[in-house]
């Protein structure tokens, strides 16, 4: 395992190698232009411009072109004992827009990603309902469907950074997140199909949801949320869910911590109280400085991060026009504004949102600057529609201490050096 962990500066060396190579190429091109020598990529007929490419059906289901094979999920081996019960990270440093392709969207399993066929799929609704029901996958497809884009963030995203700057890359510090367009049936529709008269007063009722895998990953959700915007989803980004994201059916709990988005959803029980399962007591509770712990911290606070430039995405083009970009999101609603600082939070500029923020979905922001080639301390600060403003790490620590593990939504700092390299740092 130690060979997987960074030897002194190995990854920085890799990034530098890329940066230097790109820098040389840029310099070469500039020199060629300066000398007035024409670019052979233009003046010489290239193979691809003369011969033929692949026919249709060369790849019945396509993967990204091989030049992009570094845009993949990555794992931090020392975090967990075993990959079966572990997590990996979305390569957010290399993506743009807001929709996360399923193939590189982070995975979190507690007993491994299981294979469950649609034909073998059953969903049970029981407990305080008028008629306990069993649905097949085909049954679910016959209910009215809705489409929504939502982010799914693990409560432990950025959890390794509580005590200090630790992991060098936006993928590792902020990559436990993805954002997809889900198609599915509202949980409300299914609960009403089973009938909620038996539950009586709904204001103090709960639903317990669990998966078909060995971990079951059971979670209790208050009825108010269950009837609000929770989806029982079977498609993501237009196609079937991937095995690792709960094929054939997962729960989508907009704005709330990813652990509640139960995969391979098999049972929904209406109850008069929470189960207090392992995942909502021993895990996903946040210990404060005095040793008491918050429970039921479901909503994900507003948060943002600059995805480029960042440690895995250094500046390779030297001074001049530079696109600073990143992601912002809030579990309480839509992002209304993102501020960016290049001097570690002394001065802020309002960034440009690529489009109006959507509720509980990722927003993409851009700030185009003319970089003078000097070092920067890049930060971003999200605002949501409730007026919440993303706090600094210091502000967060003042309330929560260092041992919360979960729900770290602090402002992130990247130290961008004059050579374009970036590093994860904390600043005063």
């Amino acid at each position: 395992m130690s060979s997987e962990t960074n030897g002194k500066g190995a990854s920085r060396r890799a990034f530098l190698k890329g940066a230097v190579a790109a820098g040389t190429a840029a310099a070469g091109a500039t020199m060629a232009r300066a000398a007035g020598e024409p670019d052979p990529l233009i003046t010489e007929v290239q193979d691809w411009a003369s011969g033929l490419g692949d026919g249709v059906d060369a790849t019945p289901y396509g993967l990204p072109i091989r030049f992009e094979d570094d845009v993949v999920r990555r794992n931090v081996e020392w975090l967990t004992a075993d990959t079966i019960s572990s997590i990996n990270f979305t390569p957010i440093h290399a993506l743009d827009g807001t929709i996360t392709p399923q193939g590189c969207a982070f995975e979190r399993h507690h007993s491994g990603a299981i294979e469950l066929k649609k034909e073998d799929y059953r969903l049970m609704i029981n407990g305080l309902v008028d008629t306990p029901l069993i649905f097949t996958y085909a049954d679910l497809e016959r209910f009215p469907r809705e489409n929504h884009v939502y982010f799914c963030e693990c409560a432990a995203n950025t959890g390794m950074e509580w005590a200090g700057a630790q992991l060098n890359g936006a993928q590792f510090t902020h990559g436990m997140i993805h954002n997809m367009e889900y198609s599915g049936v509202t949980l409300r529709t299914l609960l009403e199909e089973a009938g909620l008269t038996a539950a009586g007063d709904l204001s103090d009722k709960w639903v317990y949801v669990e998966g078909a895998d060995a971990s079951s990953n059971g979670r209790s959700i208050p009825m108010e949320k269950a009837l609000d915007d929770v989806l029982v989803a079977f498609k993501a980004n237009g196609e079937a869910l991937r095995k690792e994201h709960g094929y054939p059916v997962r729960l989508v709990v907009p704005g709330w911590e990813g652990n509640m988005w139960v995969k391979w959803l098999r049972r929904i029980e209406v109850m008069d109280g929470p189960v207090e399962s392992r995942e909502e007591t021993s895990k996903y509770t946040d210990t404060l400085e005095d040793g008491t712990s918050r429970k039921w911290t479901w909503v994900m606070d507003a948060k943002s991060v600059v995805t480029s430039p960042s440690p895995q995405s250094p500046i390779t083009h030297g001074a001049g026009p530079l696109v600073i970009t990143g992601l912002a999101w809030s579990g309480r609603g839509a992002i209304t504004r993102v501020d960016v600082s290049t001097d570690g939070g002394m001065n802020w500029t309002q960034a440009r949102l690529a489009k109006e923020g959507e509720t509980k979905a990722l927003s993409r922001f851009y700030l185009e600057i003319d970089w003078d080639g000097s070092e920067m301390f890049l930060q971003s600060r999200a605002h949501d529609e409730t007026g919440y403003v993303q706090p600094t790490k210091t502000e967060l620590r003042e309330v929560r201490g260092l041992n919360s593990i979960y729900h770290n939504n602090c402002i992130q700092t990247w130290w961008v050096k004059a050579n374009g390299e970036a590093e994860n740092v904390e600043v005063s």
Binding site: A214, V275, E276, T281, T287, S428
Partner: protein
């Protein structure tokens, strides 16, 4: 030709979509029907009208429901509804002693959680940590952190042991839970836990939790207008990730370097690689591939602890590439039991016979083995897994 075909297909599809839309609207019973029906239907003679009317009538009969799914049978609910709540709701009758729990724990849990529930490597520690929650490095265990005993019972019964969930009886679960309590010094060694005395056990951190209070304690994060200019005097680096240096190395760097080295002079290597592949294929061809694929399914039981195939590494158990016809206990870097080490040193080899004997009764064949697996009952499963392992000869 293709153009006219497309147009025709489009027409049919369009009609189908309209029909579906009509059904959908009628079925949903959300949008007030008359308005939509008027808009969509020009005359009563239209076929859509009767469709909508029929659907509306049936929906009304079910009081806004769709009539989908079927009632769950009591046996089905009993099979899946096994959750246990803090007040004991859901606990089945039964009991188990600390002594029985210790044996079960040693056999099925200790490989990850340690003989005394102290945890192995990164696997969860289940005992200890009393009074550490406010420390710099709190140790959260069943004893020091978990607020409800029901959670332990529920989780052990539903999801443990890792790789063989839902195999423990109620009595076994009471016993294991009792042992975990004992390992946390919460009960004596003669304690017997049952559904009768379950609620009498006091959990030390039962009062250690508060409900999410961010709206109050973090109200100052809702700011009217945060500072935009000259917000602080200066900025200094207080901590650097490169100092800790725990970021995973860029994957593929080594391979890239190799590619560079090989570029241009690869002919010999390519030939060699092709030759190796040919040999591998010849070996694989001698296998019964049906049996191999059967074995792959059975091997799922082994996967929780063993890896096999490309990049397989030692985990809870040793990696199994080339295990067949290899000396016992010979994988580098894996800590075998003393018995297995001695067998290996005595020249014993994994072959059809020895592998079958071990898989049938691991603890009987290798006394003191670390493998907590109970063994495969069926000879055909053993043969299948053996064939599967042979397909990874190296």
């Amino acid at each position: 030709m293709s153009k006219s075909l497309n147009l025709y297909g489009g027409t049919v599809l369009g009609a189908a979509v309209l029909l579906t839309a009509a059904y959908n609207f009628a079925d949903r019973n959300i949008t007030p029907m008359p308005g939509n029906a008027d808009m969509m239907v020009a005359t009563e003679a239209s076929p859509y009208f009767s469709l909508i009317a029929a659907a509306e009538a049936s929906a009304a009969a079910q009081e806004g429901k769709f009539g989908l799914g079927r009632p769950a049978l009591p046996e089905e609910v009993a099979a899946w509804d096994v959750d246990v709540r803090p007040d004991g709701t859901g606990l089945p009758e039964g009991s188990g002693s600390v002594a029985d729990g210790e044996m079960l724990f040693s056999e099925g849990c200790a490989i990850c959680h340690g003989e005394f529930a102290e945890g192995v490597d990164n696997w969860p520690k289940l005992a200890g940590g009393d009074g550490t929650l406010a420390d710099e490095d709190p140790l959260k265990t069943v004893g020091s952190y978990w607020p409800y005993l029901s959670t332990t019972w529920d989780y052990v019964h539903r999801s443990m042991p890792f790789g063989a969930a839902q195999t423990l009886s109620a009595d076994d679960t009471y016993a294991i839970t009792a042992y975990i309590l004992y390992s946390n010094y919460l009960v004596d060694d003669d304690f017997v836990l049952s559904n009768q005395n379950f609620l009498e056990v006091e959990m030390p951190n039962a009062d250690g939790f508060i409900v999410d209070d961010r709206d109050e304690t973090e109200a100052h994060f809702w700011k009217d207008e945060p500072c935009m200019e000259n917000c602080k005097d200066g900025v200094e680096i207080t901590m650097r990730a490169a100092v800790l240096d725990v970021t995973p190395e860029e994957e593929g760097e080594a391979e890239e370097a190799m590619e560079e080295v090989n570029a241009g002079t690869a002919t010999d290597e390519v030939i060699e690689a092709v030759a190796e592949t040919a040999v591998e294929e010849a070996e694989v061809a001698a296998l019964d591939m049906d049996l191999v694929s059967e074995g792959e399914k059975v091997f799922k039981k082994c996967k929780a602890c063993h890896m096999v195939g490309d990049g397989a590494k030692n985990r809870v158990g040793p990696q199994l590439n080339g295990v067949m016809n290899r000396a016992m206990a010979s994988v580098d870097g894996f800590k075998y039991s003393n018995t297995l080490k001695e067998m290996g040193e005595a020249g014993e080899v994994w072959n059809d016979e020895t592998m079958a004997a071990f898989m049938a009764d691991p603890k009987g064949y290798v006394k003191g083995t670390k493998m907590s697996f109970r063994g495969l009952k069926k000879d055909e499963d053993i043969a299948a897994v053996t064939e599967y392992l042979k397909s990874f000869s190296q």
